[in-house]
């Protein structure tokens, strides 16, 4: 029987990474819960086995429930009934299967009913769900909002809300408004404290809210009257059982039809503050977004896999000029690049997830006890790495998902343009990945400081010290020379000393950063598992070389005087 996890050993490979020992050690606190919970692991091997079993179940449900439902979900979509959003009928089946399987509250501590798995494992489950239906992945993976509720909510709030998520109630993060998209500082939804009711009341409108009719919402609202910027915003928990929030409209979208995108009206909706006032945007939403960006990375990786699978299958069956089309260089060039982007993007995703896991686990331990100096240093190191890698991985994997979906259609030829084939849905679904949770352009903005301050460069240099498979030595030398070119390119941009030039060229530097980093990661993966990754390593490094040569040429010859030719024309 098909299984989206076991059918792709490239995913499970990442459970073997050396950092997993540290992650498990931190997450399980020395396996101290084994006496209390029958499902808690007794040692490292047992823990990894638990992860594997969880992923096999996710892979089974993805392949045998969610994927067969995906076409019907795409065609039916959700609808509006008396201010309530009703999912597509098969979405309910998907939810039921994930609930029966216990695939909710994955990352939450066991004492609240969770499974205490790290982000690496959550991302893997997320990836296989997305491969089956990325619109359902939205609904399911929003459970990760719970991380923010856990981190910043009170103990009493944790006890009240987290067990409900672990039992399968859904979540949403209500951030965007008609006039506050990428610029969340402009959020206007009003929160007023009511002495009479003894709670906060929310009034206003939110737009583009994914799964907006969820059971438990995290809401960004303006609690400080008279303020206009991010410092006047706080985060609130709205429980649907309270009433006061209605769905006014469900958007008609290009893709991810099964994922309801709602416009919400708040009329004296009773809500409670989560964390401290005024920290809503500057602290909590940033945490929320970082988690969500990792989620989109997983969503992208899953779709990239599915697009590749569809293309490979079709190319092996379709014959023209007397042979199947996968024998033509023009076709296998596409297929091999798709696979290389898939493997490299996935490697970047899990590298990021590992960094996030280590610092988050240490942060959590810090809530229980004072950290040792070396633990504090470790936390600081991995926080910085996670901050640097999250925008890189979100942007690169989401762009790759789009490229793979595009190429999957190209491989299908005319059939790819026909609605009967799955690749058209993948193409439509992928389009939003590089837009929501921060557009690629915003990921570049988030990453640029780590480009200019040399964070990425020093990681590249460090990774170049690692030994690789003999066969890969020449490739590694080419990557080393790419790193030199990269360093010169960054210097050239900095020397220009002009903010507009730097902002304009940042995307080129970002792409170079991503592809060099992934070259180094895929070399390491191919060294550890040549059977799985040797081909992709060879294809990918060559591809990155092409990028680095092109982008650096662009940068080296760029002159500030050229900007007027690019600037928007005033009418």
């Amino acid at each position: 029987m098909a299984n989206y996890y076991t059918d792709h050993p490239e995913i499970g490979f990442h459970l073997n990474h050396p950092l997993m020992r540290r992650i498990v050690e931190l997450k399980e606190r020395g396996f101290s819960e084994k006496e209390k919970y029958a499902e808690a692991p007794v040692d490292y091997e047992d823990c990894i086995e638990n992860y594997r079993r969880l992923l096999e179940i996710a892979g089974d449900i993805a392949a045998n429930v969610i994927a067969p439902n995906s076409e019907s979900v795409d065609l039916e979509g959700p609808h509006l009934e008396n201010g309530r959003m009703i999912y597509a009928s098969k979405t309910f089946e998907n939810l039921e299967a994930t609930r029966k399987a216990g695939l909710w509250g994955l990352t939450m501590p066991r004492r609240y009913g969770g499974l205490n798995v790290p982000n690496v494992v959550f991302s893997m489950a997320s990836e296989v769900v997305s491969a089956a239906d990325s619109s359902f992945q939205n609904i399911w993976s929003l459970q990760s909002c719970c991380d923010t509720l856990y981190e910043f909510g009170s103990e009493e709030q944790r006890r009240r809300f987290i067990p409900r998520i672990c039992a399968g109630e859904t979540m949403s993060m209500d951030l965007t408004e008609p006039d506050a998209g990428s610029d969340l500082q402009s959020v206007m939804l009003k929160a007023t404290w009511s002495e009479e009711e003894g709670c906060w009341l929310l009034n206003g409108v939110k737009r583009f809210i994914t799964n907006g009719d969820s059971d438990i919402h995290l809401v960004l609202a303006r609690s400080e009257e008279g303020t206009r910027d991010g410092r006047g915003l706080s985060m609130f928990i709205y429980d649907k059982r309270q009433g006061g929030v209605n769905v006014r409209h469900i958007e008609h979208k290009l893709g991810i039809h099964g994922s309801p995108t709602c416009e919400l009206t708040y009329k004296n909706a009773r809500a409670e503050l989560c964390g401290e006032r005024r920290l809503g945007l500057i602290k909590y939403v940033m945490a929320l977004m970082n988690g969500a960006r990792l989620g989109i990375g997983a969503q992208s990786s899953g779709l990239s896999q599915e697009a590749y699978n569809e293309a490979v299958r079709y190319a092996a069956e379709r014959a023209q000029f007397g042979q199947t089309i996968n024998h033509f260089p023009g076709v296998y060039d596409m297929l091999s690049r798709m696979k290389a982007k898939l493997d490299a993007g996935r490697s970047l995703l899990y590298q990021t997830a590992r960094y996030v896991d280590i610092y988050k686990a240490l942060e959590d331990i810090q809530r229980e006890r004072k950290l040792e100096p070396e633990e504090r240093a470790e936390m600081k190191k991995y926080t910085r790495l996670a901050d640097a890698f999250t925008p890189l991985s979100k942007g690169m994997t989401s762009e790759y998902a789009n490229q793979n979906a595009y190429d999957a259609i190209s491989v299908h030829g005319g059939s790819g343009f026909i609605m009967e084939y799955k690749c058209q849905r993948l193409f439509r679904d992928a389009r939003i990945f590089s837009i929501y949770e921060g557009t690629t352009q915003l990921q570049v903005v988030a990453a640029v400081r780590y480009i200019t301050n040399g964070t990425y460069l020093s990681i590249m240099r460090e990774m170049l010290e690692e030994p690789v498979l003999g066969e890969l030595e020449p490739l590694k030398e080419r990557v080393a020379s790419m790193v030199d070119t990269y360093e010169k390119s960054v210097a050239a941009v900095k020397e220009a000393g002009d903010q507009e030039v730097q902002d304009f060229l940042a995307r080129r530097l970002y792409d170079m950063t991503g592809e060099i980093m992934m070259s180094l990661l895929i070399l390491a993966d191919a060294t550890a598992a040549p059977d799985l990754f040797l081909r992709s390593a060879k294809v990918y490094v060559r591809m990155a070389e092409e990028t680095v040569a092109g982008k650096s040429a662009y940068i080296f010859s760029f002159d500030k005087e050229e900007l007027p030719s690019f600037r928007a024309v005033e009418e």
Binding site: D60, K100, A101
Partner: protein, 289 residues
């Protein structure tokens, strides 16, 4: 009202994915070439049992199976989905059983389990396709039986209301407990394995399944639920002469590959004339005899 439910389940070779080497030259199933799976109809049966457990708090579901030690996997599969316990009938004396000897063994075990309200099994197994074991068990235990069930709609005052799949439609029947039910493949599919239960029971094994140098031996001593019930002929107080090959009057003479060529089907009524005509035809065609 809480119920005590026993689910009959069988580990079978996955005959749905048959390759070239699925049969041995001797005409028996080549078990080594086919993956061993939970018999599909039995999964439908398990789901019906688990739904009753959901509806009637305090109910218990146990999975009863017969087979070699590795059939312990069937009990684990049940535990992963919400069953409370299980019993593996395993003994060389049980081996080679036809449907008569199988139903004898199962009936003897159910008697030992005792005070069972419902026995629920799949309609038939995909390796033998006989659909005989369920009814035979009911007969031996003197239980009411409902076959081809699609849904156990409700149980009130110890009366079960069951919807059956019949030719050209459905039929709803009422039957007093205790009852044996065989469930059709068209019934609701079984729920998925539950992550938490898998984590809990993944090392649950019958003693005979365990290697001598089992790395998890320490855990078995600490956690009772990791040791599955394993019963021999003697454990259930069975008569060896009625078990396994010794108790099986069915002898396979030969097995042949047949290719169906007829394109149409015939509909016969339940009249004596039609049945006699059918038997005569089958004898003439040497299909039976």
């Amino acid at each position: 009202m809480s119920l005590k439910i026993v689910v009959l389940a069988k580990q079978v070779p996955d005959t749905r994915n048959v390759g070239k080497d699925a049969m041995t030259p001797e005409g028996t199933v080549n078990r080594a070439a086919l993956p061993a799976i939970f018999n599909p109809d039995d999964l439908n049966a398990l789901e019906q049992a688990l739904r009753l457990k959901d509806k009637h708090p305090g109910s218990t579901v146990g999975v009863l199976t017969m087979g070699p030690p590795r059939a312990g996997e069937i009990i684990r599969e049940g535990l992963y989905r919400g069953a409370d316990t299980g019993w593996l009938l395993t003994d060389r004396l049980f081996a080679g059983a036809d449907t008569l000897a199988t139903s004898y063994a199962l009936a003897t075990a159910i008697r030992k389990i005792g005070e069972v309200d419902l026995v629920i099994g799949g309609r038939q197994a995909i390796d033998g396709d006989t659909a005989q074991v369920g009814p035979q068990v009911a007969q031996k235990l003197g239980l009411n039986q409902v076959t081809y069930a699609e849904e156990i709609l409700k149980i009130e005052n110890r009366v079960a209301t069951i919807r059956r799949h019949i030719d050209g439609g459905v039929e709803t029947v009422e039957v007093p407990l205790p009852v044996l039910v065989t469930v059709n493949g068209s019934a609701a599919p079984c729920r998925p394995q539950n992550v938490r239960l898998v984590m809990k029971y993944k090392y649950a094994t019958c003693p005979l399944e365990r290697p001598a140098d089992d790395p998890r031996a320490d855990l078995y001593a600490e956690r009772d639920y990791l040791t599955l019930n394993q019963w021999s002929v003697a454990d259930v107080g069975g008569d060896p002469a009625q078990c396994g090959l010794a108790g099986s009057p069915t002898k396979v003479k030969s097995v042949q590959n047949i290719v169906f060529q007829a394109k149409e089907s015939k509909t016969l009524t339940a009249s004596d004339a039609d049945i006699e005509g059918m038997i005569r035809e089958l004898l003439d065609e040497k299909i039976i005899g």
